[in-house]
């Protein structure tokens, strides 16, 4: 595999899975033009006039959709670790004897380790999405047939639009749907909030299948997915367990050290002058990121400050802010807990959004850059403020990118992270995998101090005299190395074997993940 050095100084392949790749050219330096992908023309006369698109089962739908070897099937992670549909889908694909599928999920979860056997037997050729937990281990050890492709939520939409990924069949789980294919996620026994990640797929895929466990007579209102984009509807017993949409990363931390970080985040947002009437923020998942919202809430109440909007991942904590009048709107990208689901259903000011409006590089602007501050996590940050969210310091893939890359465009991007976890330094010399260029990352907040990107002179000035523990990031790194017993050794990897690539929001290749040698 031929590797070239990209503008970030990382070595990346120019061809992956038989497709040409463009190396990263720098932030905002790549702009594809022209018309690259369009949905094929459809005609209503090809569909039942009575509007009933229900077929017997998933296998029938796949057959009617013309499933063949080597096709691309997309799925979505709205039920997170409670999703049963994706596993059901690939059981059907396997039974049909189909091979070499490109699986294009919006994210994967540990529940999908069920699919490892299909990666092993060739049913699935490779994954373009996220490779979490057991799937990450499988991929990193070089066992996947093709090369994995990691994209942000916005990047996923971009890849549909500029033809990087053509979806043959989109399988969309819908907690409520009608026989015409109108579908919503905010109600039904498996309600998960919104199903906005599937929007692009429903528009650009050749065939779209809705899978529901709550089939209602036409019309299903509201319709987050329009039936006019749907080919088939399949009714199943159960989509999975909606209780598990609450994953480990959506509970407030109890750790005193993480709470300290969260407190610093709230203090910083106040001291930097970001917390003022009409401001906006985005809170990611992860215990620390949820906790800072609680601290900020107290400050907002004390000062009588109200936000214009807050972006989720919504959780009950954001919902409380909305219901207590501390924000006008929640613009929700995905719903992290059942309180979020309830609020979205009941409160018109809890608005569902999609990666198109929020994150898309090929949109005519997007929400991410309007947000005043985004508080995010990372697995590693280096002294140049570059950050990693997909691999662990041992080189193994463990997370997807999610909306993280897209959120870096906020006016003040804060990474709230411990400086080390157990004996694993988080502040390092150089990140194992580059996912976010340091020029977009403004502030690193750890329990050992706050480092501000030297290029944000305005922020440095704003918090001067605030009493906050502002430190040089190199100083924090030095403290961490002293505690951990020296700088960590790097993983031993096979530099000739790229197991996955990390895409930047514009579709270029930012970095490679290499096979870890055991």
């Amino acid at each position: 595999m031929k590797l070239v050095k990209n503008a970030a100084g990382r070595f990346v392949p120019t061809e992956v899975n038989g497709e040409t790749q463009i190396p990263f050219k720098g932030v905002d330096k790549h702009k594809p033009t022209g018309v690259k992908a369009k949905p094929p023309i459809r005609s209503c006369i090809d569909y039942p006039f009575d509007g009933n698109k229900v077929v017997k089962d998933l296998k029938t739908a796949l057959k009617k959709a013309g499933l063949k070897d080597g096709m691309t099937i997309s799925t979505h992670h709205h039920l997170r670790n409670g999703d049963a549909v994706t596993n059901m889908l690939f059981d059907a694909v396997k039974e049909m004897g189909i091979k070499n599928i490109r699986w294009f999920p919006s994210a994967s979860f540990p529940v999908h380790s069920h699919l490892i056997k299909y990666l092993e037997d060739g049913t699935i050729h490779h994954i373009e999405g996220s490779m979490n937990g057991p799937l990450g281990k499988f991929t990193t050890e070089g066992k996947m047939k093709g090369v994995g492709v990691l994209r942000s939520h916005g990047g996923r939409y971009q890849s549909l639009q500029d033809g990087e990924v053509h979806v043959d069949i989109a399988v969309i789980l819908a907690p409520t749907a009608d026989p015409f294919g109108n579908a919503t996620g905010d109600r039904g026994k498996s309600a998960c909030g919104l199903i906005g990640f599937a929007l692009g797929d429903s528009e650009y895929a050749d065939k779209t299948i809705i899978v529901t466990d709550n089939l209602v007579p036409f019309p299903c209102v509201p319709w987050q997915i329009q039936g006019g984009n749907v080919d088939f509807v399949v009714e199943v017993e159960s989509l999975g367990d909606p209780k598990k949409i609450v994953s480990g990363t959506t509970e407030v931390t109890k750790s005193p050290d993480r709470l300290l970080i969260a407190e610093y985040v709230a203090d910083f947002i106040e001291a930097a002058g970001i917390m003022k009437d009409g401001f906006s923020l985005q809170a990611g998942a992860g215990g620390t990121n949820l906790a800072f919202v609680l601290f900020l809430k107290e400050k907002m109440k004390a000062k009588g400050v109200k936000a214009r909007f807050m972006r989720g991942g919504s959780t009950k904590y954001l919902v409380e802010m909305l219901e207590e009048g501390l924000t006008d709107y929640i613009l929700d990208g995905q719903t992290f807990d059942l309180e979020g689901v309830r609020s979205m259903r009941e409160n018109a000011n809890h608005v569902n959004t999609s990666p198109f409006t929020s994150y898309n590089f090929h949109g005519k602007g997007n929400f991410a850059s309007i947000v005043d501050t985004a508080v995010l996590g990372a697995t590693e940050v280096d002294v140049k403020f570059n950050a990693n969210v997909v691999t662990h310091s041992d080189g193994y893939l463990l997370h997807g990118i999610g909306g993280w890359q897209n959120c870096l465009y906020s006016k003040c991007t804060i990474l709230a992270i411990p400086s080390f976890r157990d004996r694993i330094p988080v502040i390092v010399d150089e990140v194992t995998t580059l996912c976010g260029p340091g020029e977009l990352i403004d502030v690193i907040i750890t329990e050992r101090g706050i480092a501000i990107n030297p290029k944000r002179k305005d922020l440095i000035k704003a918090v001067k005299g605030s009493g906050l523990p502002i430190k040089d990031i190199k100083q924090i790194k030095k403290e961490v190395d002293e505690i951990c017993g020296g700088a960590p050794a790097k993983p031993k990897v096979n530099k000739d074997k790229v197991v996955a690539i990390v895409k930047w929001v514009d579709g270029t290749v930012l970095d490679s993940v290499f096979q870890v040698e055991k």
Binding site: P256, L260, D394, D422, R423, E447, R448, I483, P488, A489
Partner: protein, 406 residues
């Protein structure tokens, strides 16, 4: 060394263990050192852990052994303590100590009348709590060798506490150790006195004689290890007898810096229940404050055990403050800030103190022996208290330290 067993173990293992490790050493007759390492941080620190094990084997003259190490991200100070414990359990006569370099940030000393509003208890055998404890800015950190350590792990905690006193940066917090009840606690001293402990907490203290015993042993060790920094004592009164003897205990040594009360054991001793109102302990607490003040030292209140109820903690501290206590025990880092805020002076107190301090300085400048504010004469202790109030106000960010400059 005299070999008693050929296999020993130390430390913790299992899925829930974090920042700790487990060692098994099995002596062999030949074959050199064989290390079987399973570490969560193998990629990052596997080589360095193996090197450390080889160094320790060499230091303790272990030449042929099979060593199992299950590591859940233990920091070097914890790894070394666990290994040394396995060695000690194998060779009970071992006198050698494997000492990591003394972190020079840890050489500070403290004052007898140091602020001691909060002191955070850390179970002595739980290394995961040590490293970040100082970040929460308690006035003192207590590494506990007594009640939070299982009887079978006392030897483990001694080594861990020793190593952490040397290696772990507590960010300026006063370095305290609660030893075991005397006379057993005397065995703990050799692990802490040479390693710059600032304050020794003496649990269940019931007589001046116990403090004398402690003092003698501490002096001996200080001389032996050429320790120059002061080491203060904080007797903890936890029984009816202790309360009655409070003054005798408080005045037993010039090294006593404070007298603390422990109410769980005390109420048990009285045969009563601990209540939120605390009527049952009002005599003991007042007696303790009085004894401490009579001896010229600080009075420190018991811990507040409901870690979720911050408002009740605040109330409890306000009450303690009104009784004359100057500090409170903390069992969770989140309690520290609340305790500091509640002990902080009120605005009224600060304003009054400012006037007194200014009047005092004015009088000094004029060479007057008597300080007066308006028509009122001000006694030296009032001035001293005002200065203390100002210090507290500055420390709690309620007053700029250059307040006189306006």
């Amino acid at each position: 060394m005299i070999k008693k067993l050929n296999k020993s173990s130390a430390g913790k293992r299992g899925d829930s263990v974090r920042s700790d490790c487990y060692f098994e050493i099995e002596l062999k007759n030949s074959g050199g050192i064989k290390i079987d390492l399973k570490s969560k941080v193998d990629t990052m620190y596997g080589e360095s852990i193996k090197q450390m094990i080889l160094d320790m084997c060499n230091y303790f003259s272990i030449k042929d052994a099979k060593i199992i190490c299950e590591d859940a991200g233990a920091l070097p100070f914890a790894l070394a303590a666990r290994f040394e414990l396995a060695v000690n359990r194998l060779f009970p006569e071992n006198k050698k100590e494997y000492l990591l370099p003394f972190n020079e940030k840890n050489l500070y000393s403290t004052k007898k009348d140091q602020l001691r509003r909060s002191r955070l208890y850390l179970p002595g055998n739980e290394p995961k709590f040590f490293v970040n404890a100082g970040l929460h800015s308690p006035d003192g950190i207590i590494l506990d060798l007594e009640d939070s350590v299982a009887p079978s792990e006392k030897d483990a905690a001694q080594l861990l506490v020793r190593n952490s006193l040397r290696s772990v940066d507590f960010y300026g917090a006063e370095r305290m150790v609660r030893i075991n009840q005397l006379p057993k606690g005397l065995d703990d001293l050799k692990y802490i006195v040479p390693n710059n402990v600032n304050v020794i907490l003496v649990p269940k203290c019931e007589s001046a004689e116990q403090i004398h015993q402690l003092e003698k042993e501490v002096e001996k060790l200080k001389k032996q290890f050429k320790v120059e920094n002061p080491i203060y004592f904080m007797p903890i009164i936890e029984s009816a007898l202790g309360v009655i003897k409070a003054f005798e205990i408080a005045s037993a040594s010039k090294n006593n810096c404070a007298l603390a009360i422990g109410l769980e054991d005390y109420t048990a001793d009285l045969g009563t229940q601990r209540t939120n109102e605390g009527k049952e302990s009002i005599f003991a607490r007042q007696m303790l404050v009085n004894a401490a003040k009579a001896a010229g030292i600080q009075a420190i209140d018991t811990v507040f055990s409901d870690v979720a109820d911050m408002e009740a903690l605040r109330q409890s501290v306000m009450e303690a403050k009104s009784l004359g206590f100057e500090g409170k025990g903390c069992i969770h880092p989140r309690q520290i800030k609340v305790v500091h805020e509640a002990f902080a002076p009120t605005n009224e107190e600060i304003e009054k103190a400012k006037k007194i301090v200014l009047a005092f300085e004015e009088a000094e400048k004029k060479g007057l022996g008597v300080v007066s504010l308006g028509t009122k004469m001000i006694d030296p202790p009032v001035v001293k208290r005002a200065i203390r109030t100002i210090d507290l106000a500055v420390m709690n960010n309620l007053l700029n330290k250059n307040w006189k400059a306006k």
